[in-house]
């Protein structure tokens, strides 16, 4: 039996932009166990429902995470609208789906860049983020912000986008599609990428389902579960199928995310074609009373939002279950058995968003 050493990983680490601490138990070069220590980003913002009324709370919930910001805002307002029984206009639903899919493209490009940086392919990282800047330009033009948008409100949206801008954006998206193709080629077919990622961190179909994995982590193991199929916002009218792969290793997760970028670009094209005219907001009267649990598909997986109102303008409780929280147990399951140098890759393969996890 080899000698056991404990090596601390994080919270400040060149490869992870977020603080996550893992105590890795090593036997010679192989990892036999990992003990996580989270809590560096816990702000306790769910308790702010007592101090901010339900319209202002949308701004706080958006700032749970800067990468998944739009869909958090959308989840919050969707839940409160369901509690209050407010029906929003069709155009608002289509615009929310449009921005949601744009969020997915930007998030996956960001992740692909960080993954490339993790296995040392720095120029690929720079290329992915260069393409991502085009997507951020679209965000800035339509919402005014690059990272935090603040467009969703209870009752619809704060901003509208006119038809001409949408048609022009359709052209920009075609350019983005063309720009991504050579990068996707490298991720899916390059020899060095395959050597690093194939066969690493395998999660079987049964394990993924039982341990509670969500999002690309689950779909890369062959389970076709995608919360967008519930038909919230405009997804009921858009055609798409969950993207799955069967291998369950890191390469499969990269493939799922690359294919999801193409799927998101296609969904956005459908949104632009089918976008109805009209208003984007309805007036909201009264206060929320009752409870509701809704599920949305974040780029990282399925997120669950629960809201409870008691008739006053302050909510009783708002709870967010983020996808990374559900993916932490599968992460602890796939780490034992790999080399020390593969730990950053495995930590990134679940697409960790620690600020989402700890709120």
């Amino acid at each position: 039996m080899g000698e056991r050493t404990i090596i601390p990983f994080g919270p400040q680490h060149p490869v992870l932009p977020e603080p996550l601490h893992l105590d890795l138990i090593l036997e010679d070069e192989k990892i036999v166990g990992a003990v996580p220590s989270i809590g560096f980003i816990h702000r306790g913002l769910e308790k702010l429902v007592e101090k901010r009324d339900f319209q202002e709370m949308a701004f706080v919930i958006e700032r749970i995470c800067g990468i998944c910001s739009f869909i958090h805002g959308q989840g919050y307002v969707q839940t409160i609208e369901a509690v209050m029984g407010v029906e929003i206009p069709e155009r608002a639903k289509y615009l929310r789906s449009f921005w949601g899919e744009l969020s997915r493209v930007h998030s996956h490009l960001l992740w692909l860049g960080l993954m490339a940086d993790a296995f040392g392919f720095e120029s690929l990282f720079m290329h992915c983020w260069r393409v991502r800047e085009k997507v951020l330009d679209i965000f800035e033009e339509t919402t005014g912000g690059r990272v935090i948008f603040s467009v969703c409100k209870v009752g619809g949206l704060w901003k509208n986008v006119d038809g001409d801008t949408l048609r022009r954006i359709g052209g920009v998206l075609k350019d983005v599609d063309k720009d991504i193709r050579p990068l996707a080629d490298v991720f899916m077919r390059d020899y060095t990428v395959q050597k690093r990622c194939v066969g690493l961190g395998v999660l079987t179909k049964e394990e993924a389902f039982q341990l509670g994995a969500v999002g690309p982590m689950l779909r890369a193991s062959g389970v076709a579960m995608d919360a967008r199929k519930l038909g919230y916002a405009a997804y009921g009218n858009l055609e798409f199928e969950p993207v799955t792969e069967n291998a369950g290793d890191c390469q499969a997760r990269i493939a799922v995310r690359v294919r999801e970028i193409y799927q998101a670009l296609d969904i956005m094209r459908q949104c632009i074609e089918k976008m109805p005219g009209g208003e984007v907001a309805t007036t909201v009267k009264g206060n929320p009373q009752g409870e509701y649990l809704s599920r949305l598909e974040q780029p990282r997986g399925e997120a669950v939002y629960y809201g409870k109102g008691n008739g006053t303008k302050y909510l009783d409780r708002f709870r967010v279950r983020t996808p990374t929280f559900a993916n932490l147990i599968p992460l602890l399951h796939i780490i034992p058995g790999c080399d020390l140098a593969d730990v950053p890759l495995l930590a990134l393969t679940i697409d960790p968003c620690i600020s989402c996890t700890e709120r």
């Binding site: 932009p17 809590g39 560096f40 980003i41 702000r43 290329h127 983020w129 935090i148 968003c353």
Partner: protein, 145 residues
């Protein structure tokens, strides 16, 4: 004109930030806003860094970590606090686990406001930090030719 012996290297730490400002810090290093053309590197080791870039407010578990990274850096050093959260706590300052901005733990030289702070503002903040770094070099009598 700068009299520093080399281009400044940054060490970046995310202390209970929502990641918005962190992505913008990384966006400064990538094409379009590229500061790497000036030699500014995002180095992971605090012992090699001149500028400590912090985002996010301070929570209970972070205090020891921020102090640790600050202490490991060699003098002279500059701290740049990026974003509304690092300046004062931002939207979350009334939360039970947040004790305020970064200046509750370490002395801060430059504050960059914004939520999320734009890359142009961040580069501006780092350049102001360079001026402070130069002044500190001058005080120590270490002006290199």
């Amino acid at each position: 004109m700068s009299f520093l012996p080399k281009s400044p290297w940054l060490v970046h730490y995310d202390a209970s930030s929502c990641n918005g400002c962190d992505i913008e810090v990384l966006a400064c290093l990538t094409p379009v806003y590229d500061v790497e053309r000036f030699g500014v590197l995002n180095i992971g080791n605090p012992k090699h860094a001149d500028i400590f870039v912090v985002t996010g407010s301070v929570n209970e578990q972070n205090k020891a970590v921020i102090k640790n990274i600050y202490d490991q850096m060699a003098e002279p050093k500059v701290v740049v606090a990026i974003g509304a959260c690092a300046t004062s706590g931002g939207v979350f300052r009334e939360c039970y686990n947040v004790s305020g901005g970064v200046d509750t733990v370490i002395p801060v030289d430059v504050y960059v406001p914004g939520c999320a702070a734009r890359p142009e503002a961040i580069i501006d903040g780092v350049v102001l930090g360079l001026g402070v770094l130069e002044a500190k070099y001058g005080e120590k009598g270490k002006v290199a030719s």
